[in-house]
């Protein structure tokens, strides 16, 4: 985040804490992409992701006084989003994961590269168990280091590293047709 952008968040945060609704709306706009994307890739359903993302900002509104800085804000949003998503996945063991390629409107492939491969990757990530999925998303969507991920998810660092190692091996193997997600994780899509 540039200094200018950071100041903008700080300013919005301070004003939102003072009760300025337009400042809170600004905070939502600044962070909706992160929150919604995490929710979407955890739940693999646009409507449920929207609902969860709204819930996250609702909770933020209730807990604004606890958020101490823009850095803390981003940490808080990531933590609450992943935690709520994991909770929802655990409460819905028969949750049917929609393959993202069947869902229109998911990221249009503007950048160069293999769009089919990327859709396959998103599908496969959507089949990982909740905790492993959260680790992979925080690492490769949010570009967080393993130690930061461990802090957000309140998980031992070694467990984060294990999740990354195993998940990436499964993803690579699946793409090359060698391994299967089901062999490494429960195969019925349920969440361990």
């Amino acid at each position: 985040m540039t200094d200018g952008a950071a100041c903008s968040v700080c300013d919005s945060l301070a004003r939102a804490r003072a009760g300025d609704p337009s400042a809170f709306a600004e905070l939502v706009r600044q962070h909706q992409r992160t929150v919604y994307s995490l929710a979407l890739r955890m739940l693999a359903d646009r409507h449920k992701a929207e609902d969860l993302a709204q819930e996250v900002f609702l909770r933020l509104h209730r807990n604004l006084a606890r958020v101490q800085s823009d850095v803390h804000l981003l940490f808080w949003l990531r933590q609450v989003t992943t935690r709520l998503a994991i909770d929802r996945l655990r409460r819905e063991p028969k949750y049917q994961l929609l393959p993202l390629r069947a869902d229109p409107g998911i990221a249009s492939e503007n950048s160069a590269g293999d769009p089919l491969l990327r859709r396959q990757l998103r599908d496969l990530i959507g089949q990982l168990p909740a905790a492993a999925r959260a680790v992979v998303l925080l690492r490769y969507q949010e570009d967080m280091e393993p130690l930061e991920i461990a802090t957000v998810l309140e998980m031992p660092l070694n467990t984060v590293k294990s999740h990354l190692k195993r998940s990436l091996a499964v993803l690579r193997g699946k793409l090359s047709g060698v391994a299967s997600v089901a062999a490494a994780f429960p195969g019925d899509g349920s969440v361990p």
Binding site: P21, R33, Y36, R172
Partner: protein, 111 residues
């Protein structure tokens, strides 16, 4: 892990925006919840005040229980990881025994 594969992952997981009007929908939901909470809090009867105190106590216990749940789930995860490593090394031993049982070939390890 090859950097190319990790880059593909990053590209695949590039963040996306919700549908237009998200901030407005959040605003409406907050407003709706605020109205409901005000209605609930504005009642002056003692039973409601008592219920509020009980709710606060329950939420406190709930917070503790959530922490315990997280610790328990973490312990479960560690247990599964420990069993995974155990199985992996037993598998290594098994494959070694299998290799040793095969007929000798030119590049046999001689195990």
């Amino acid at each position: 892990m090859s950097p190319d594969f990790e880059n593909e992952l990053r590209e695949a997981l590039r963040a996306v925006d919700p549908e237009d009007g998200f901030a407005e929908r959040v605003r409406r939901r907050i407003a709706s919840e605020t109205r409901m909470r005000r209605r609930w809090l504005s009642a002056r009867w003692a039973p409601e005040a008592l219920a509020a105190s009980v709710l606060v106590a329950v939420l406190g216990v709930y917070g503790w229980e959530q922490r315990r749940e997280r610790q328990g789930l973490e312990a479960r995860q560690q247990l599964i990881e420990a069993l995974r490593v155990t199985g992996e090394k037993l598998d290594l031993a098994y494959r070694g025994v299998q290799d040793a049982s095969r007929p000798a070939s030119a590049d046999d390890a001689g195990a």
